[in-house]
Amino acid sequence: MMKAADLDAIRAIITRAKRWDLIFSVLGILSLMLGILTFVVLFIDMAIQGVPRLSYDFFTSFPSRRAENAGILSAWVGTILVMLVTALSAVPLGVAAGVYLEEYAPKNWMTDIIEINISNLAGIPSIVYGLLALGLFVYYFGFGQSILTAGLTLALLILPVIIVATREAIRAIPQSIHEGSYACGATTWQTVSDHILPYSSAGILTGVIIGMARAIGETAPIITIGALTFIAFLPTPPFAGDPPAGMFDWIFAPFTVMPIQMFNWTSRPEAAFTLNAAAAGFVLVFMTLAMNGLAIYLRYQLRKNIKW
């Protein structure tokens, strides 16, 4: 039988341990709140300023020197087109690279070096990609300050994110599925196309969206390649010109994007432009949220079909 003194000592230890638990969870909640509250306050402030400016005209008007007439038509169309080029180039490249590294690449020092460098690439400041793109795409390849250049620049920027996400998603597939497929006599490509890609697509999609959400708000690399601030016309519509050459006129068109439009408006002397910037910021956040929402929905749909 235990002595009362021992029990008291144990109780004291438990109380102390629980107190630590409490302290830590309070600390954790505070840290969480700091991040979330900052965003919420910023977002609400932006919404209060910007939402009254949102109207049909705001979305269908070009920028103007008069704040009340200015709109974001060229900016949101530009953003969507640039994102289209980014997605079309970064997703196939990134997924292919990820699959290769996981399924095909021999395990040797070369592969190790490549792997380390991909992680490093993810940490490079975006302005560096802008400078690279200025030299490579704008001048060397002669793409100029076009939608193509911007799309490819942002594609480079998010490529590491997509590669890493693809590899994580593939690794999450149970080893037994690999082995089962090979045991039935499937080739590597059959295994990849019938099992690996379908099962990892939900995870890959998450990575793609995280990457795209980063790209949509990027300003520095786009300014570096020389995106324009005043542009009161739209590119020729994609795939609508005379085929085959005319269909791709749009990728060489000059453009502007949402963050640049906002940046331009915040540096104006008239206070009314600040409201426009807030409204554009609200739309941009909403675009990002919509993209994330779409990702969650698609991921849910894809997961439903996985039977293991």
Binding site: R65, Q145, A227, L228, T229, F230, L234, T266, S267, P269
Partner: protein
């Protein structure tokens, strides 16, 4: 289904504005000139019913000239005349150009509205505050004028990359870019507005448009001109030629090659005809009517080169500039 609907809406927007291959005018350069050029571009495109496309970028005067001398753009916005080094680059690439003054900007020296002691400032007083030798030494108001309070002097100004900074230092300290370094610098003039409006002991300078929009938060300091008269910056004072030496002309440079394109020619003519009215609307100071006419003449005669010969000058009359024989 949902995504198809969105695609249909996007396609609709495109289709509504779809037009045939159009003429394109590319402009880039100074952020100071941007509001004027933007206003002209906006109205020009409206006047042409969208048959000509105009793009206006902001890369700074220096960045604009770099693109201009590589032949990437048709028109360069400049808040200072082209420099000798840039002239060389253009000459190497075989780019000739016509220099056209389009408006004035009045550099405005501002203090906090609670500053009761300043009634006016002379160039000499400004120099005492801003010259390189003042760094770390002139830190209080009473060091400049004993009648002023024993309070810290807090200075705000644009960053060293801006043409505004170049012109101010040239006009006050006698040499472009020569200034004390210990002041609060920002490329964003709104930051300077905030800084001066929150500090009773602050003094700063920037373009007139930023003062005009923030009149309630700032006080403009009258500057004593070379004739000894203290002049408060205003559109009228600059037009009368009294706000010296801080009124500066701003320019556009038109590439001679682009002048052969009818749309560029038409745009520049539109600029010189409507520019004065539009400049006033965006709080810049128009040139005199005769000056615009003279500039238009120089343009039609294709008088290529710069009236400055690669050296910055302060306090030249635009009428005299336009009469000079430009150098290449």
């Amino acid at each position: 289904m949902k995504s198809m609907k969105i695609a249909a809406v996007v396609a609709g927007v495109f289709a509504a504005t779809a037009v045939h291959a159009q003429a394109l005018i590319k402009i880039d350069g100074s952020s100071t000139v941007f509001p004027v050029t933007e206003a002209v571009a906006e109205d020009f495109q409206k006047a042409k019913k969208g048959s000509v496309r105009v793009t206006v970028g902001i890369s700074g005067t220096g960045g604009g000239f770099k693109k201009f001398c590589r032949g990437e753009i048709d028109i360069s916005d400049a808040s200072r005349p082209i420099l000798a080094k840039e002239m060389e680059e253009c000459a190497k690439a075989g780019i000739k150009y016509v220099e056209l003054p389009v408006a004035f900007d009045a550099l405005t020296v501002v203090v906090n509205p609670k500053n009761t002691w300043i009634k006016q400032l002379t160039v000499a007083e400004l120099k005492m505050m801003w010259e390189p030798g003042a760094q770390g030494k002139i830190t209080k108001w009473n060091q400049i004028n004993p009648a002023w309070p024993d309070a810290p002097l807090k200075l705000f100004g644009p960053g060293a990359d801006s043409g505004t900074f170049d012109y101010f230092t040239e006009a006050i300290n006698g040499k472009a870019k020569s200034s004390r370094g210990d002041f609060t610098a920002s490329e964003d003039d709104n930051v300077l507005v905030q800084g001066v409006s929150r500090d009773n002991n602050a003094l700063g300078f920037f373009g007139f448009a930023y003062y005009d929009e923030n009149k309630g938060k700032l006080k403009a300091v009258p500057i004593v001109n070379p004739k000894g008269k203290a002049v408060t910056p205003s559109i009228d004072a600059v037009m009368a030629g009294e706000y010296e030496p801080l009124a500066r002309p701003i320019f556009i440079y038109v590439s001679a090659k682009s002048m052969d394109k009818p749309e560029v020619k038409e745009f520049v003519e539109f600029y010189l005809k409507e520019g004065g009215k539009l400049a006033k609307e965006v709080k810049y100071v128009p040139l005199g009517a005769a000056d615009y006419k003279h500039a238009l003449e120089n343009f039609s005669k294709k008088k290529t080169g710069t009236a400055f010969g690669g050296v910055a000058e302060v306090g030249v009359k635009v009428a005299d500039l336009l009469k000079r024989n430009p150098k290449e």
